[in-house]
């Protein structure tokens, strides 16, 4: 297996994961700190007969992947902060038209141009609510190269299963950290392919009529079924409709197909949680620091645990609630001003025992940032 061990950046691990999952088409636009993903794919995709295109802007990159996805291709784009803002309208289009696609956002310091080369986790809420209108979306993250790879494969799988855009919300620290990646063998991780309709030519195909299990088998553009795809509210034919019953059913379907499968979509990692008295909840790069603190304190006999979230949206409320039930204090560790903190407080109904250890100045969150908070909680002073 030695040959399968690579030493690379998080951005490269993401590329490897995407190729493993069967990426066919990538469109992007240069932006720090995600550019390596586009650069690498411009090299790798054509060499296997697949397509890479550098578009004229962020908006068109997002639009181009949706167009390509409708021909049956697995598609991805990658960006960062400002580019993620620019893509939002077209992400909403993918939500509304139920077009599978993967969007990588390597978070950097914001708002605006902010800190282009610094890590941040400031886009958690934007990933959830960035596009206008009521909707649901899947957002995954990871704290190390092995998990970046695995979550990238998961992103494609979930996007095909639920016919939805999936956001890979990584951050600059993870994206640019060089470390080991053990390449899984083909078949080692499950890869979900597109679900195609079995409706034969000449029989009416209803592109937006969910099956009993809520899934919508697709037909490729260029195939035997010709149908309409629109960002307007639409009926089972994909034709615009303002009929309240049709609109209601569509809205419920769009949200329920994701919120109703939260358990299936939830990916978490737990460290020393069984007997923990105090629990850190973290994700992405921050979880690296959190894990370091937990391991360190365990050596001293402190009953500290870590719940690392890999699915951020739909928020794994049940898991968090269950894990926090018998815990004395919870510290959310993140590089923003408390975006996941609010979610945790919301779901455990005991906000007084939830604290925040964070960093917002562009530097990476350090063990002392967490230890200082723990000392205050334990009444040891700052």
């Amino acid at each position: 297996m030695k040959n399968n061990v690579l030493f690379l950046q998080g951005n490269e691990a993401c590329v490897e994961g995407a190729l493993y999952a069967g990426l066919d088409f990538f469109a992007g636009y240069p932006i720090t700190p995600s550019t390596e993903i586009a650069e690498l794919l411009s090299y790798r995709l054509p060499a296997t007969g697949r397509k890479f295109i550098q578009m004229e802007d962020e908006l068109s990159s997002m639009c181009a992947i949706v167009g390509a996805s409708l021909t049956g291709k697995k598609v991805m784009t990658a960006t960062s902060g400002p580019g993620f803002s620019l893509k939002q309208e077209a992400i909403g289009f993918a939500v509304m038209t139920e077009t599978p696609c993967v969007i990588v956002n390597i978070q950097r310091g914001g708002p605006s141009t902010g800190l282009p080369t610094s890590g941040s986790q400031g886009d958690v809420m934007q990933a959830r609510w960035g596009t206008h209108g009521e909707h649901a979306i899947i957002v995954l993250t990871a704290s190390n190269n092995q998990d970046v790879f695995a979550m990238t494969v998961e992103a494609f799988n979930l996007s095909e299963t639920f016919r939805t855009p999936v956001v890979l919300l990584f951050d600059e620290v993870v994206a640019h950290t060089r470390e080991k990646l053990t390449m899984p063998e083909p078949g080692e991780i499950n890869v979900v392919d597109r679900l195609h309709t079995s409706v034969p030519k000449g029989t009416d195909y209803h592109p937006y009529l969910p099956r009993e299990d809520g899934r919508l088998p697709m037909s490729d553009f260029g195939g035997v079924h010709r149908y309409n795809v629109t960002g307007l509210a639409h009926d089972m034919w994909g034709f615009p409709s303002t009929n309240p019953t049709i609109v209601y059913d569509l809205m419920r379907h769009l949200v329920d197909k994701i919120q109703g499968h939260t358990k299936e979509i939830t990916r978490i990692k737990e460290f020393f949680v069984e007997d923990a008295e105090c629990l850190l909840i973290s994700y992405g790069a921050s979880a690296r620091t959190a894990l370091h603190v937990v391991e360190n304190r365990r050596e001293r006999g402190e009953k500290l645990g870590l719940l690392e979230l890999q699915t951020l949206w739909p928020f794994p409320a049940d898991v968090v609630k269950k894990r926090c039930a018998s815990i004395d204090c919870v510290v959310v560790v993140e590089m923003n001003m408390g975006q996941i903190l609010h979610e945790v407080k919301r779901v455990i109904h005991d906000g007084d025992k939830v604290f925040l250890a964070n960093k917002i100045d562009g530097t990476f969150i350090a063990p002392t940032d967490i230890l200082d908070i723990l000392r205050i909680i334990q009444g040891k002073g700052a």
Partner: protein, 266 residues
């Protein structure tokens, strides 16, 4: 096949106002495709937002009704992943020249094999008559109540400058020539732009003393002239119609196929 075999009757009546030019353009598109004998399942229509973009849903092809201004970006992704399909991109003037201007010039630069059919009615129809980048100097619009002072684009020169390899202009009055031009544009390997002057009697017409569709079509008849005609020499204000350029140049998807060969051999 009859025209009705190309439309989705289920979705009629259409939403266009009486006298609107867009139905004429849709009819011409169908006739051009019928003449060319392209199979319905080999055609994809991608549109943006606006009255013109609604053509998409009525046609029995693969149809993708997208975002305001972004039709060409969606179409680029679609075409590049399935180059064997024929792509038609109906757009409006606001859609193509304002919010989607960037995609227009870059599609032209790449010379990707798409046919952009830009229905220019010099106004935003769907939102109720606001001025667009092709509203004339002094024209009235709901956002130009004192008369428009913004100079307009010259769409033909815009896309010529950006590298389009097929550029033509026609009008809803000249239907036979429109069908002919569309046939050539669709057959052309590369980015084709066909500007169709298409009347909006409801907003542009009413506000600018051309209250009926007939007035507007007479305007197209009397104020346009074939490219290089004698009339144009006498009256430089006449708008030229016809094919401005039709040139073989490397097409993007064909170039991409070569790039793949190169990448594979390295």
């Amino acid at each position: 096949m009859a025209v009705k075999d190309y439309i989705r009757e289920r979705f009629f009546p259409h939403l266009w106002c009486p006298g609107c030019g867009h139905g004429i353009v849709m009819g011409a598109m169908i006739r051009a495709i019928e003449k060319l004998g392209i199979q319905k399942s080999d055609i994809v229509v991608v549109s943006g937002i606006g009255c013109s973009s609604r053509i998409c849903g009525y046609l029995d092809f693969h149809t993708l009704h997208t975002l305001h201004g972004r039709a060409l970006a969606f179409a680029t992704g679609l075409k590049l992943s399935r180059p064997e399909l024929t792509l038609l991109v109906p757009m409006g003037d606001g859609d193509a020249f304002a919010i989607g201007g960037n995609h227009l010039i870059h599609a032209a630069r790449r010379n990707i094999d798409l046919t952009a059919i830009i229905m220019n009615n010099n106004i935003y129809g769907m939102t109720g008559g606001q001025s667009s980048p092709s509203t004339g100097y002094g024209d009235l619009a709901t956002t130009a109540p004192y008369g428009n002072i913004d100079p307009s684009f010259d769409p033909v020169n815009l896309v010529l400058g950006a590298g389009a390899s097929f550029v033509a202009r026609t009008t809803t009055y000249h239907v036979t020539s429109m069908i002919n031009i569309l046939e050539k544009a669709i057959t052309h390997k590369g980015f084709s732009v066909v500007e169709v002057l298409s009347q909006c009697p409801t907003y542009y017409g009413r506000k600018n003393r051309l209250a009926t569709a007939v007035d507007m079509m007479n305007f197209y008849k009397n104020r346009t002239t074939p490219i290089g005609s004698k009339d144009k020499e006498k009256n430089p204000d006449l708008i030229e119609r016809g094919i401005f350029i039709q040139e073989e140049r490397p097409e993007y998807c064909a170039e991409y196929a070569k790039l793949i060969e190169k990448a594979r051999s390295q």
